[in-house]
Homo-oligomer: 492 residues x 4
């Protein structure tokens, strides 16, 4: 039978060579684990000797601890009566006393984000809201849609409107998907499973993050018939871990229909807001993760983003990674993070293993002043439109309105992803908040299609938009130094 | 003899299956009508058992009730002594104590709007001011005129200046018309009739809205000799209703000279400000009309715009609607809401039944990020200038200054419409406010024409403006996917 | 001997048919004059029966009254002891107690304007600061210079720098002139004569306004040897008055070297700020001068600008006005207010009578959204560069920095005018303020020329600037409707 | 033995013909020196009779006084006990009580500047922060980088990243150098030597200013093996002084590897913020240095920048200065301040004596609205790309982020300079602050290179950026008046 400890006894083990923590009423000796913790030793030492459940829970999927500790590290249980009472922080107090407003009273995604900002903890907000450097790209992602004008055709029967389409051969109710965004439980206990529930009635697709706060199995549990998912892969330096995860995904072929390999963040971007958010349970000044050349090797102390990054591989290549993937899964591959027409053109060469690409700058969280997906769409249209007929092109970043979605579709996108919007929906109102987010987007898409005089998603095209103000800003090559063809071939 | 009720007796009938209201001192049983009320049942139930005159009056033309209720629904009259005293709301109180300033002290349309904003109720302001989504188009409608420069010619005798012109063959004193804007009595009891009175001395044209708060007969009553009107048609799903209205209009051939068929809002845009304005006489939180795919069928609870929309047909087409119209009126047709050169080109094919088109994005109230009329003018100049010689091209949206009017005329417009400006003029000072609005516009137009060295409206042309900053942003086709000719023909 | 009145006696004559005023201690009966007062009868009636000297003096040159009244209208003098004591208004009080700062402590024109704004009356400020409508052109006049980049050449001996140039064959010390701006005594008793004194040591040119608050003789009194002037002509409807003025100017050939015929304001622009400034000596609400078609004929009640405009001719033409001028003066003509290349091209045809043109939009005070002079310079460079070799091209509007001046010179201007800057200099510190304004501009011009590596004004040219951001916005004709040549000829 | 004075005795010598000051406890008679003081006599007279050490020390390198005074001017020492106690000003007090925050907590250059702004005196801040006129160029220097987009290539192994490069044949650890910025001790006693220490571990290059507040020998003292320096030359009117300095520099060939001849400020720009900062130790209103044509000869009273300028030669030319330099040093010449492709092309003709050019507008401190270095880079790419292969092209101005650095390198720059950033780093935290500044830049550069998929500095090129929004604004010649070839030859 497990030993029962007093909290006072646990509180004596707080040093780097003798470190205990309490999680879910169980007492663990994590001394040996300190050096291999993805988030760094320091963050554990701050919680040493205490009940760390509140800090640990929302960012670790079940099973994380068991997979990393030896059985003997589990020392016993704590006597709950000896624990101090938890103090709710400001946000929680507010949430309890007032609660979020009726989701139906919120009319657009900005209002939902505003409510979420009040509901979630500051740390959670900083992680979701943050983007790299000066957030130029994050802001541009949205503004670029406002620069594109719509061209409504009139005197057309618009009583019918059908938002359904097919993605990778699967029927979906909306040309929308949830981008793989990490740590949903930071904002709401329903987590990624709550997102799946919130979008189920819309027949929308969800890509599950490697860094989800729930297991892939939990997330898809109870999903609607026909509701489909993709699994996002950040390849780990320890390839075996990635292979094991792929094997788990392969076991759910009726749910997970593809692997989304993330390419746009081989090293973490510099998200200063996130780095500035107070460390877990501590109010001491933080020290930045910016440490010069060896930063990626010493993540300690940084924001949530930096911690999640630990162990991610930076050595992926077209020629080595795709064959390796082929060995471990027969699911189609979606390449996420394409930002130039050259890479779109290269990706097309790898069909049919590669079935789609996602034009993405990681929500402005990787390289600041990287182009918005709209630029890359226009580049492809200009330099290699054959891409659209060989593979599917999806886009994400900056979506706030149904008109934004329709504009991307007019430019050739087959699907449009929302990341922060889903997380803010969850933060604002849990499952209902996610549902409201998609309800708004669907209604806005339909209104837009009707007012354009278009009944079906596949009938949308460039004649319905005027993107001239954007077109003049897209890359037009460097005639003096390269020819596109040569440059692309050199990379094959 | 009619029965006389105590207010207390009426107040007992407030449920969905037993619902009475008092209107103009008459007691009605509206139970059977609840399900077919264009504004939804809920809005009536909120007023059930009470005197609803104050809420009903400014948005329903006389005869509305009689046309929709069976005779036996009229139960009797109320004893006025038993009614509670009405409480004036803030705006009314302000209006009574201070009143609006001398209209002659207001120097421009912005100042008039500012005064109106203080005079009218918040709900009225929200309905007039609101536009779709983020109001990008509403704002662009005006800004685009500021991007166009004038080119004054000098050393020209400018002692004479003549603003008169002809529209559809009728002489008018100004190249201005009042756009068909609904619910004028929301802002002032003089209503649409007051607008007609306010503009009569200028010889300006007025288009009367289907959703006017007065009958078409009332509005033109006492208008000046030669003062002309058009009647705006929102075709109803119940075509018979529209046919009946056309028959009424046909009976006033000396007043109503054309039918303006509205095409730019087959489904309602998303006007969030309007949706947010408090429900009639109630302070409970509103629930949005955004409900997904079936929203148009379940308008309940939304703003004024949503309520007005109930029953409007979304199935109009070039090939079915114009012949149907020809059967029910011999008046010329003006197509309102053209937003592309393709549709302008198509409209031209339907001359002489179609005598004019109105380039309009519904004041930014239909599809946000739709182009301003100036873009469409420039598109027509570029791709199919023959339109100008076959039919008249009118424009509206964003007019704040006489220079804006002159610029539109230089680009080929034959007339320019003002909608909100007329309503705000009415709200600011009734008939006198509308008169002041047009007095200012006329004076500004004259000053502009004189300083350009142009005496007559028909002498204005593109050489008097520099629209280059706008021209580079207009649609330039999608060479890869369509040829204009083909695209247009495919729609014929 | 003149009769002496008590103030109380004068105060009894305040009606439209019996109206007296006191000016410079003399009592006048102005009843007969009321109907012909350029500023309207109302403004006199407000001052009726009182000492109007304070209001009259700063806007009327000496001799104005005598030239307009019959001898018998001079009734006698007032007993000064019976007059009430004058009350200084806020600005005057401030001026007396604090006084302006040391002019040498002011570093740029914005700081001088800021000081002047505090020193002068609100009415004066409104008259100087105001521009038409939304002041788009006034603001653009300045911003357009910021869009032009300089191109400094280095490794060039820049120890010498010579700002002198010649204008119409006369040597001047600076390529700067004072634009003809009215009513200098509104801001400072030194008036236009003070401006002449302030610029005398710089060898700068001054154009004296028709509406100057001092006589042409007074203004040039005591000017430095070689200091030259031009006289601005607003042609009057009563041509005889203009002819008489020309005769006066012709008598000072060593001072007045040319006539600047103003063309850019045949009717007054709409300067709302000016119109809003309180009427002279009254706090009652003003009524606008915007009265529709007959406004120019009924100026009453408007701002200072409207009052000055009374009687100005709007019927000038190339073919009638220039020959008439030739009959009344042999001075060369400078045409002020050219705003298109077409009119520049036309003006060139009238050399040698016309020796120069001034590209001007009247400081943004005539037609709002008229182009800045920089646009017209670029148009001339593009369409008819021969203009530069046939006549001199001067520009004004928006000058705040020496770099602005240099940029205009690089584009082909021979001289650059400052209007408000001179008035604000005068308002800030009288003669010394004007001197400081020109001292700053001269120093900034020299620094700019030295850093460009240019020693002489005539060596400045387009290679020293990059105006590409502006060039793409200039008028590029309307290929479909006109050929430049044809259009120009049609106007000859 | 030196005489010892009471402070009271010294305090009696305060007039222009009898002026003593105390410096480092020594009493000097500076009467004869007053007229030749570069900063003007007035500034010394304000400190006459007092201990001027605090004002003198941070802006004069050791030896300055000795080199300018005759031996007999040294009168003796002061009795320290008779001196008044120094009063710390606000900034110093703040610094002492709070001190700067932990440098590691600062995440970007803006945050470091913000801390420095609080730490240093207002006068120091004004000198560093100020730029010419309206600071258009200073602001544009930075904004232009934000207009350039990056083009990240993905699926590339980015585990390695090497920021080293070679400059003038010397290996450096970073493509960054410290621009020659004057008066480092104004912000921190560690001065220019502190900057050298702060960057030593990064292998970065430092250009030492002629106006450094320490001697060239002091600055390089204790620098790391392989750490290299350049010496900035402002040629003096008294050439002998410059020749003497060159001789000193020639004696340190292992440290000083080149001479950076400054060309972009032959006369001082107009830095108003700097001119407005209170005179040393005085609160009386300042009088501007803007005095008209003779300003450069009478600098007195202006800001720090004006004082430093005294005696600088404005007569440098390609044909006379380079041969003179060749006689006095065999070090390679770097020409600083090239702002046009024409001058870049000319510089190339002087290889191999000239080995590099620095595209610079003097941090926006010389001529306002001069182009940013990015414009000049693009001009060279367009008109004379051969320059890049013949000489090295360095740039400075506006660098705030590692992405800015990478963009300049992609456009062809071999090195990128930071001036204010180094000074603000020093002001924020001394040596540690400078180190942090470079640590941040290096980390940001590496993150950027990794996310672009580029391992080595020399692999960066235009294909990694989209500079189209900037390209359309660069100078495109003046076809009508010049051919580039002719223009360039005319200047050879």
């Amino acid at each position: 039978m497990a030993k029962v400890f007093d909290a006072a006894e646990v509180a004596r083990h707080t040093s780097a060579d003798d470190c205990w923590v309490i999680l879910y009423n169980t007492v663990y000796d994590v001394t040996d684990f300190l050096s291999s913790h993805p988030g760094g030793a320091k963050i554990i030492l701050k919680l040493a000797g205490r009940d760390a459940t509140e800090e640990y829970d929302p960012i670790h999927p079940p099973g994380t601890l068991e997979g990393n500790l030896k059985p003997e590290a589990k020392l016993g249980t704590v006597d709950p009566a000896t624990l101090p009472k938890p103090k709710a922080d400001g946000a929680e107090k507010r949430q309890q006393s007032e609660g979020p407003p009726d989701m139906q009273s919120l009319l657009n995604l900005d209002e939902i984000e505003e409510v979420a900002t009040k509901q979630v903890s500051k740390k959670c907000w900083a992680y979701y809201f943050s983007a790299s450097d000066d957030m130029v790209t994050k802001s541009f992602n949205n503004q670029v849609y406002k620069q594109i004008l719509l061209r409504p055709r009139v005197f057309i029967d618009c009583t019918k409107c059908d938002t359904s389409t097919s993605l990778l051969g699967h029927k979906v109710g909306l040309p929308l998907y949830v981008s793989p965004a990490a740590m949903a439980r930071l904002s709401h206990p329903a987590g990624e499973h709550g997102i799946a529930q919130g979008i189920s009635s819309f027949g929308a697709l969800q890509i599950v993050s490697t860094n989800a706060s729930m297991t892939p199995e939990q997330i898809v549990e109870g999903s609607a018939p026909g509701q489909i998912f993709g699994w996002q892969l950040y390849v780990q330096n320890e390839r075996k871990k990635s292979e094991a995860m792929l094997a788990r995904i392969n076991k759910m072929p009726d749910k997970y229909k593809f692997i989304a390999l993330t390419l746009d963040a081989p090293v973490p971007g510099k998200r200063e807001l996130d780095e500035k958010s107070k460390d877990l349970g501590s109010s001491e000044p933080i020290r930045s993760a910016v440490m010069g050349a060896d930063a990626p090797k010493r993540p300690g102390g940084g924001g949530v983003g930096q911690q999640l990054f630990f162990g991610t591989a930076a050595d992926l290549t077209w020629k080595t990674t795709l064959p390796w993937l082929a060995k471990h899964t027969s699911l189609p591959i979606v390449l996420k993070g394409i930002q130039t027409h050259e890479d779109a053109y290269l990706a097309m060469q790898y069909a049919p293993q590669v079935k789609a690409i996602i034009l993405s700058n990681h929500g402005g969280r990787a390289l600041d002043t990287a182009p918005p997906a709209v630029h890359t769409l226009l580049e492809i249209r200009k330099y290699c439109p054959e891409v659209f007929s060989r593979i599917e092109v999806w886009v994400d970043g900056g979506i706030k309105r149904g008109t934004d979605v329709v504009k991307a579709l007019c430019l050739g996108a087959k699907a449009v992803g929302v990341g922060r919007a889903a997380l803010f929906g969850l933060g604002a109102g849990g499952v209902e908040g996610v549902h409201r987010t998609f309800e708004i987007l669907k209604a806005e898409i339909e209104t837009c299609m009707r007012l354009l005089g278009v009944e079906k998603v596949e009938d949308l095209g460039p004649r319905y938009i005027n993107s001239r103000a954007v077109e003049r800003d897209i890359y037009d090559g460097d005639a003096g130094l390269e020819k596109r063809g040569l440059w692309v071939k050199a990379n094959l």
